[in-house]
């Protein structure tokens, strides 16, 4: 365990951004936190979490895949992927840190997605423990401990100091170059964790019950009559998908600049009406089917394919941002009512 007086945090950021990009959560013009490239003078946000999740750094909203030059009957391939750059991602909360494991299961499964893989290999994740969880947090339901976030390096912050613990080889390597860090005992961190755990015990959503959300009950859950009322006011806007740290559906589209056809991928949402629409038909004709798909995927299909790991980390962003206040916690509760 190492520590640093908070007064020296800019020195730390300066060292971390030598030779690579450092991303820290910083407040934007509307007062909400966002991962921003650090420059002298940029202050660390005091907000609990960013609006856009950390997945942006590994799976960006838009990414060039390849380019084509078409001349007459001939096609030429043009390599156009973003160059892989090393970077440090600072201030990731435990929920977003777990989301990387979930995204890894999808993108790094054979055949591995080379774009994602390059970013993962180039990124060092420095996480930050939470001290003031919100009422919308329920990461503990998924076995995540917000006081002990996973990552290449884990950090804790109190009124005076930043505490720093390297966990992996990548983390050790990063730490080696940081001469401003001093050795430290663990008492202050343990005390803080105790205090935070008291609050975790009071979170209104801590008792969400995931029993029955598994492959065995797939058909029963799929056919539940409750989907109609759950989905009826869903606008199909896609906000939940875009702020969610684990949503990873994407579209592959092309853009013709006139001299080159750029093939890119961009985020897509299973909530959108054209997600599964093809010339032969539309298997999900109404919002009910689309709404059901998103939650069945996160709560049943994904765990079925991934040894029981759920596709949600309880970050609470969908609870905060859905225009009509529908979210995964309400879905879990409503469907869970049947299984008493």
């Amino acid at each position: 365990m190492k520590k640093l007086p908070l007064s020296k945090i800019d020195e730390l950021f300066k060292a971390l951004s030598a030779g690579q990009k450092l991303y820290i959560p910083a407040d934007d013009a509307a007062g909400q936190a966002k991962f921003t490239v650090w420059q002298e003078g940029l202050a660390l946000s005091q907000k609990l979490n960013t609006v856009r999740s950390a997945k942006d750094l590994f799976f960006p909203q838009v990414e060039n895949l390849v380019g084509f030059k078409v001349t007459g009957k001939q096609i030429e391939l043009i390599e156009s992927r973003d160059p892989a750059e090393p970077f440090v991602l600072f201030g990731v909360r435990a929920c977003d840190a777990r989301s990387f494991d979930i995204l890894d299961k999808v993108f790094l499964a054979e055949p591995a997605d080379t774009y994602y893989k390059a970013r993962r290999e180039n990124g060092v994740v420095v996480t930050m423990a939470c001290t003031r969880p919100a009422e919308t947090c329920f990461c503990t339901v998924f076995g995540i401990d917000p006081t002990e976030p996973a990552g290449d390096v884990s950090c804790w912050m109190d009124g005076e100091s930043l505490y720093w613990q390297a966990n992996t080889e990548k983390g050790e390597k990063l730490t080696a170059g940081l001469s401003m860090l001093e050795d430290s005992g663990e008492e202050a961190v343990r005390a803080q964790q105790e205090k935070t755990r008291e609050i975790l015990g009071k979170l209104p959503l801590k008792d969400l019950n995931l029993k029955g959300f598994d492959g065995e009950h797939m058909m029963e859950l799929f056919q539940s009559p409750k989907w109609a009322s759950l989905s009826e006011s869903c606008l199909g806007c896609g906000t939940c998908t875009f702020v969610c740290p684990t949503c990873q559906c994407y579209d592959i589209e092309e853009f013709n600049t006139g001299s080159e056809v750029k093939r890119f991928r961009c985020w897509d949402s299973c909530m959108y009406s054209d997600f599964t629409k093809m010339s032969a038909g539309q298997p999900r004709p109404t919002q009910l089917e689309r709404f059901r798909q998103r939650f069945m995927h996160k709560l049943v299909y994904f765990p079925t394919n991934n040894d029981g790991m759920y596709g949600c980390v309880g970050c609470g962003r969908c609870l905060q941002k859905c225009p009509i206040s529908m979210n995964i916690a309400k879905v879990i509760k409503t469907l869970g009512e049947d299984k008493k």
Partner: protein, 325 residues
Amino acid sequence: MQQGLKEKAIQLLKDKTVDRVVGWKAGEFFYDLTPAVFHTPEEIEKDFVFSVFSGANLSKYLIAESRKGGKVAAFLKPCDTYSFQQLLKEHRILRENVYVVGVQCDGTCDIEKIKAAGCDGVTAVREEGDGLVAETLYGEHRMSKKDALLDRCAVCKSHKLVVYDELLGEQGEEQDAGRFAEVEKLERMTPEERYSFWRGELSRCIRCNACRNVCPACSCEKCIFDNPDSGARNKAAADSFEENMFHIIRAFHVASRCTDCGECSRVCPQHIPLHLLNRKFIKDIDELYGEYQAGADMDTKPPLMDFTKGDADPSVVYERGGDKA
């Protein structure tokens, strides 16, 4: 007030005036209400809520609801009634299948404002006179309701319920609360300052489409932005400027049909003040074509869908200085 609405809803179901009711359903924390359809008195007793957080405009749901057969009741606040009437004018809602209960409102609140005032971990909110008391994981907070109002409610343009089958509470008046003040501030900026302002605000846009999907004026069955043949479809824009065009194009598409209900800004996850774009258009329309409020009545034609000899000439652009770089 909530009790009155609940009783009215139950009465309308029991005497078979309607077979279902559109309202707001209780959530986990008192502030997270979801629009919902209630079919039985039991459902209403259990889950129906009308509170300072009933900000959602229910009129857009009636486009689909009024076509599902039977008759549906809807509780509409004054701003909601303007949207409802505008949709009637556009023949989007089948009037005979909707029973409108007009509900007076003195402003709905924004949980984001309450949180920004330093309330973390809000687990419940209650009204106490003119104030709000928020219970949180970290203690109790008090603030005045006035400070927690949604931006649109702070400059509410009208307490008048323009269409209803029945009224709960009293009829209200239109009022001038200075809703164009922010727009005037933008107008006084130089073009460079204004450009910088909007580029900054719109840079936060994540293209979630919440603004479009919640807007009662955006009810096209197939939106131009979803249509691959339109040339404007972009899930991912070529650059940030093209991305910003989404908002400008959308503002043009709803111009003179937008009732200024403010839902677009309420739902934006990135707190972009989209309503300012629409309000600018409303101000311009008022100046160029005479004062017009969309949805205020059934008969007046929207100025952009009408033609009179006195309409502004294209030269008005030069008069306004639009030819200056």
